[in-house]
Symmetry: C2
């Protein structure tokens, strides 16, 4: 049982060289004679020496870690993004610090402060309550990638999806299939990304001359429960929409629940369109027509953005990468 943790000095002593030489034998940043390297490596192995990344971080001012702060991972969309981020970072030798904010302003701020104090090399953050300015103020010049559809002056590199495009396609698809009365179940009022999706929906419906009664628009949390409750209200209306677009797939699942409870058939009594194309979409019966939100690509874009920002430094102009969304027609319409 080795008593104390073995440090670089122990290796140096045992190999009869200086700590500097041990360091260089391991990092290769300075030439070391073959004989010396061999001896050092052997001692390292015998003693089971593992260099302290903490000490290296303090010295080098970089931690090889990136924080990934996300609103929620109970929605299956996010684990996919997280996985893609994790894998992309791991490939480049970075470790992922993950934080779930639940969209709480206090939590968002506290987690950002904490990860700044941890000297992470970069941050990938999906803001819900904090504005881009707020976030930038907190993280200073740290490489920062925001997952948001925020418009206006840029305060960070941004990754977003072109939701309007997919929604427009979905509405057109409904029109093509002869649905003229359409409703929408959106996220919490005034919050991204629900707002953009609702606005796109209204615009597309208007352009096609479809009917959207005022009480055919619902605002609920992005949850199955939310979808069910909104669905029960919408489907009980004396004059109800014949097709409903949901701001995400999880809401659509709730709407399926509601239709089932009311004995209504999908798509004969009411057609349903989702958003995200999470795995579940193709498990439902009927399979859910939905707009594919490319989770893996979003993750990859975030990684690319944060890594190139780490490379380029804080002065390069901010970039925004906007990923396409596309309709996946299935049997719920």
């Amino acid at each position: 049982m080795p008593s104390r943790k073995v440090v670089i000095g122990d290796v140096a002593a045992a190999a009869g060289v200086s700590p500097t030489t041990v360091s260089h034998a391991l990092s290769g940043r300075r030439a070391v004679s073959d004989e010396t390297r061999r001896r050092v490596l052997q001692v390292v192995d015998e003693l089971g020496y593992r260099s302290s990344i903490i000490a290296q971080s303090l010295r080098n001012q970089q931690t090889n870690s990136v924080a990934f702060l996300v609103v929620d991972i109970s929605n299956p969309y996010y684990p996919t993004v997280a996985q893609s981020v994790h894998d992309g970072l791991a490939d480049e030798g970075y470790v992922s610090l993950i934080g779930i904010t639940y969209g709480e302003p206090a939590t968002e701020e506290a987690m950002l402060q904490n990860i700044v104090r941890r000297n992470v090399d970069g941050v990938i953050f999906q803001p819900m309550s904090l504005s881009p300015q707020d976030v930038r103020r907190i993280v200073g010049t740290l490489p920062l990638v925001l997952i948001t559809d925020h418009e206006g002056e840029l305060h960070a590199d941004q990754v977003q999806t072109n939701d309007a495009q997919g929604i427009a396609e979905a509405v057109r698809h409904l029109g093509d299939r002869g649905f003229t009365d359409v409703g929408f179940i959106g996220g919490p009022d005034g919050r991204s990304p629900g707002t953009v999706r609702l606005a796109s929906f209204r615009a597309a419906a208007h352009a096609l001359g479809l009917t959207v009664a005022d009480d055919w628009i619902e605002h609920v949390p992005f949850t199955r429960d939310g979808g069910r409750e909104a669905g029960l209200r919408l489907l009980a209306l004396p004059s109800r929409p014949r097709a409903i677009v949901c701001a995400n797939d999880v809401i659509a699942v709730g709407l399926f629940d509601a239709a089932h409870m009311l004995g209504l058939d999908i798509p004969d009594d009411v057609a349903v369109v989702g958003f995200d194309d999470i795995e579940v979409a193709s498990m439902l019966k009927p399979r859910l027509t939905t707009v594919c939100n490319p989770a893996r690509d979003v993750g990859a874009a975030c990684v690319e953005a944060v890594l190139s920002r780490i490379d380029s430094g804080p002065d390069a102009p901010y970039t925004v990468s906007s990923l396409p969304t596309v309709l996946v027609p299935r049997e719920s319409t």
Copy 2:
């Protein structure tokens, strides 16, 4: 635009005190006069000073971080565990380092080495390829919680679920409903947790005198594709089982796909039981009868185990917490 990162010395200089006093004014570990504290706090605020957790970690030999290493998060079971772990750790002021190993021995080893070098305060690890001894050898005396049903000598605190219990209940349930011919779609051969679940299935079926033909047992990956392929083979058999137990819900989804492709009705042509009770289970049509695997409780148990190990030190006896699983009967049987 503040040029350089502000450090404790800057605060000390501006407040006209020593770094020692600043440190104590902030940590409260030593008495500081009210007047001094007030001045220090004000300067901290003006300068936007944030102490470096990296430097503190090096000095204090603790990082307030815990690593969570898991096989895969594309199976929806794991995000739930991860969330529970994250929340539990965050409550106690710990940050989560998450790693996805994909069950690769090399990745498992590399990630463990890396997080040891990062001086995490504890590790929660779901081993797939490495044995508990191997893991213990790698992490030394670090607090370690293993998510595994491994039997035999303990090398770490362990969290496991009583899968046998739930499976037995499921088989009994099938017997009660009059199914006498039963099959099983399990995970990869010889790997946990598939092995335990299969063994429990065999034992329970045998005890009840149910028929289990040799070719009614399939070994596939824990994926939807795996379930579909096994399902297609099983359901095409000249003499096929009337009920099939799946080693997890994702496999069951694949089996649903297969039944659908073959025009077979669930449960009239074939009954299906899953394992885990992930959210999707109740979204399928018919809703899936399954064994509830308490993901949140597993996460909470891991957090509790790792925290109390951090408290108690390496010499306290290892604990194992075994969580119950229970059948959730729905319409697929």
